[in-house]
Amino acid sequence: GIDCSGDSQMCCRKEFFVDFKEIGWEDWIIQPEGYHMNYCAGLCPLHMAGIPGLAASFHTAVLNLIKANNADAAVDSCCVPTQRRPLSLLYYDRDSNIVKTDIPDMIVDACGCT
């Protein structure tokens, strides 16, 4: 996948870090110190369908399908996460118990066009 930089309009991953101390959550979240809430943004014009972040063969397959099915009817595809990982948290719950858990699919590592 591609990280957004400069004025690229194409589908890419935007980094965004939420510092728990800045939002006043550091008293109940023991670890980690923040959350990488990255997200996908950007355009997925026709010729981008299926890349980046997915296998090239899939891209070719998608393009062939679009050609075969009357290209001008096709619309842009969407810029979505193609790779994600869990967010591990150690926190106090409302009864002051200490809970450790891994919340699946919370951190976006790569983006791509459907």
Partner: protein
């Protein structure tokens, strides 16, 4: 997004940077709280002391090493075991005791488990850790009763009773997995542990004055997988 509705991905591009930041932080908060099944961020009135937390984590680690090294003894608890690598969300819960009533021969400890998780997790293992402080040599019999409120919450019923013979100062563990699981299945979250000694030794042997030897329960749990019906 439907015509005219606000599309989160493209809508952000038109927002002023500060507004965009506020929107993203609000989304991050909402996402974390909903995944932890919390209606709002918890207000921590008495955070656990660092000493107690570090001691508990060390004890749990040591216990795991002991169990891993013990020659082939299968786990007594009949709880389903953790299968590492499963895609189901897993939890480790540390619940420190809240001291209850005590007499010269008995003491009550209360453990409040996680309200928001109670209905959505199944307990895999739960172990009670107690630190004995033995006043004199010899064998000291101690009775440990696990009490839980009945469904009305008005009375308590005894879930189990165990006789221990304490011979020296140090940590002892007791498997409370079945009691905690039955607590959760009844929708209650409070487990009371009653410790009783034969003679008047004063509060039974517990090092309750020492912060880093405070009794605790360590539980491992797993999110309940929704019951799937497969049609052929």
């Amino acid at each position: 997004a439907p015509k005219g509705a606000w599309c989160p991905a493209c809508g952000l591009a038109t927002l002023a940077p500060t507004t965009q930041r506020d929107v993203l932080i609000a989304l991050a908060k909402q996402s974390i709280l909903s995944k932890l099944r919390l209606p709002d961020r918890p207000n921590i009135t008495q955070p656990t002391s660092r000493g107690a937390l570090l001691t508990a984590l060390r004890r749990m680690h040591a216990q795991r090493v002991d169990v891993a090294l013990s020659p082939g003894t299968p786990q007594e608890s009949s709880m389903p075991h953790l299968h590492p690598g499963m895609s189901v969300q897993e939890y480790e819960i540390l619940s420190f005791a809240e001291s209850g009533s005590s007499t010269s021969r008995s003491i009550h400890l209360h453990f409040h488990f996680t309200r928001e998780l109670a209905g959505s997790i199944e307990i895999l293992q739960a172990t009670l850790y107690l630190f004995w402080e033995v006043p004199s040599s010899g064998i000291h019999p101690v009775t440990i009763r696990l009490l839980q409120p009945d469904p009305t919450g008005l009375n308590v019923s005894m879930a189990s009773e165990t006789q221990l013979e304490v011979q020296r100062t140090g940590w002892a563990t007791l498997d409370v997995g079945r009691a905690v699981q039955s607590l959760f299945s009844q929708g209650s979250q409070r487990l009371t542990v009653e410790l009783q000694v034969a003679e008047d030794w004063g509060p039974p042997l517990l090092a309750v004055h020492s912060d880093s030897h405070w009794p605790f329960v360590a539980a491992q749990a797993r999110a309940r997988t929704p019951h799937r019906v497969q049609r052929r």
